[in-house]
Subunit: 350 residues, 2 copies
């Protein structure tokens, strides 16, 4: 109010740096100002008065002081230890990150990002040294990972995206790779294929290994032989190209690739060799990334809602922070078998 301009406040655009400044400006105690800001109990009139001052003051709470006093900073760390050059072109990680940032932003939580431009040891050291973090989300995709080990061994609340056997007691968001791989392999068998090959993902990754296991399980259950039909790949298109060539030599009538990128590569090889998809060789991928539906023919694959994974991980971490005593939160996200023409000829585009 203009009439109040005589209450000793210097200028209208007052600057208040600390709670004490605000306290002096409003005439209440620092404790009360703190309560208003943090949503504690306060008389309606007091609240209004403080908020008025707050509005014309551009006050920002000191995050360091906050963390020190309360143990909470409202900032979490996100560690995706993958070379930045590989990270963002890959729809897998960018969707994951998108989901995480979306949920955190919505909840007003800040985030610190670590990518793989240092050694894992250095990254771990940095993260643990950054003691104003409230917690961490980390992608745990490889079987050996000192950063994951280090974080789980620390007192910092941690949520994994993906998990190893050894991480079963931690909080994580993951999918059942084995069962999804089993399901898609079974699909290929169901449409009448008997010589189903598998192009693996990178050995040493959880997803890679588990998908092999799922594939084997399905083949064994169907009574089909597969011991020579597994060729190692590494999740890249290139590996799909060459692995498919090997498999064609062995005479397969279907190929399950550990992800969509390698499936795209396999597709190239098959068509280059003059064979038809799916008539001669059916093919299936994993992930259902953007381009999968636009391949020719559209690719049968396993859909995982990666953005949801990210959001779920963020949600899990915030819950953990809200109630440190609670049990670890383990979320297995659903996957969906998406059948397209690469495995079912004649069916019109979905």
């Amino acid at each position: 109010m203009v009439g109040k301009a005589s209450d000793g406040v210097p200028r209208d655009e007052t600057v208040a740096r600390t709670l004490d400044d605000l306290a002096a400006l409003t005439g209440v105690s620092r404790a009360t100002v703190s309560r208003v800001i943090n949503g504690g109990t306060a008389a309606e009139a007091t609240r209004r008065r403080v908020q008025e001052v707050l509005a014309r003051t551009s006050y920002r709470p000191n995050a360091a002081a906050r963390k020190l006093a309360s143990g909470r900073s409202g900032v979490v760390g996100v560690v995706v230890h993958v070379d930045p050059h590989l990270l963002f072109p890959d729809p897998y990680f960018s969707q994951l990150l998108q989901g995480i940032t979306d949920h955190l932003a919505e909840q007003g939580t800040g985030m610190m990002l670590w990518l793989g431009n240092r050694t894992k040891e250095a990254t771990l050291d940095h993260v643990l040294g950054m003691s104003f973090l409230d917690g961490v989300i980390i992608s745990a995709h490889t079987l050996e990972d000192p950063v994951v080990d280090g974080l789980l061994g620390s007192t910092l609340p941690t949520v994994l995206i993906g998990h190893r056997r050894a991480d079963r007691s931690a909080s994580y968001v993951d999918i059942d790779n084995e069962q999804a791989a089993d399901a898609i392999t079974t699909h290929l068998i169901t449409i009448g294929r008997t010589r189903v090959g598998h192009v693996t993902g990178s050995r040493g990754t959880v997803a890679g290994e588990d998908r092999v296991t799922g594939y084997q399980r399905a083949m064994r259950r169907a009574g089909l032989r597969f011991d020579r039909l597994i060729v190692d790949g590494d999740f890249t298109r290139e590996s799909g190209v060459s692995a498919a060539a090997e498999l064609l030599e062995l005479g397969v009538d279907a190929i399950f690739c550990a992800n969509d990128a390698s499936a795209a590569g396999a597709l190239e090889t098959i068509r280059a060799s003059g064979l038809r998809v799916p008539e001669d060789v059916a093919i299936a991928g994993f992930d259902d990334v953007e381009f999968a539906a636009h391949l020719d023919p559209p690719l049968t694959t396993v859909r995982q809602a990666l953005r949801q994974h990210g959001m779920e991980a963020a949600r899990a971490l915030l819950q953990l922070l809200g109630d440190p005593g609670r049990a670890p939160r383990r979320v297995l996200m659903p996957t969906e078998l998406v059948i397209r023409q690469s495995s079912v000829g004649g069916v019109p585009h979905e």
Copy 2:
């Protein structure tokens, strides 16, 4: 030493959470421990004793407390407000980031990364709210940028990568776009071309505008007409493709593109139209990214050492932090005209 195991320390793998814990463990005061850790003066014997305890203790200083007490946290922010999907595929930004992280890591400084997955307003708010930052490096490439404005208007020490006219009193690392564009245009004129076209970068970016200005300056100085020879592009290959088509209609004998990506696009168009490079139309780009030397023919361009830019920005910020009183640090990085076959026929590959 094993013989020392009787000095009352509970286990060998002692845990010390605070300086006071360490003080109790070593028998010196908290102040002394702090001095040893931070490289203050301490007697050699004391220093050794403290460090011994430090070694078997896995103590980590509390960054929040540090920031509160000293004002320094050893963490800086890096803001590259570009959509992550565009960011990392682009060698420009990834090299810049690489340089920044390299120098910061080497100096033991932590970093917090903000990418463009929120609105600029939200980003600004987050960064300013993150009060444990010691300073910020931000890429300032567009003419309008509320984040840059907000940071420069705050008390947070800030170093820009790139700069607008209005930022002339800030600290920045940049190149002289105008003069580099002038130089490369002049080069095209020198080899005898008189109808030199220009495919601009995104209008609204500093680099885009300044390169137009440099081009115009060179043309004007040579007494050549250019008013109809400027076609807008946006730094993408696609824009190079279509802009070049327009320019060919007008009958140019050389094209200067605002960056290498659009030059690659222009190259495609020219060759598709049956014209020879450089005999019929010479072509030049800007940046000297990886692929420029591998185009056919190799591309004449302006090299900027982007990794160096990043390192220089980090260095500038750390200097600023070390001596807050010092004048802003403005660095114009050198550029280098790299002449390859796209503008000089017959000359063997460099």
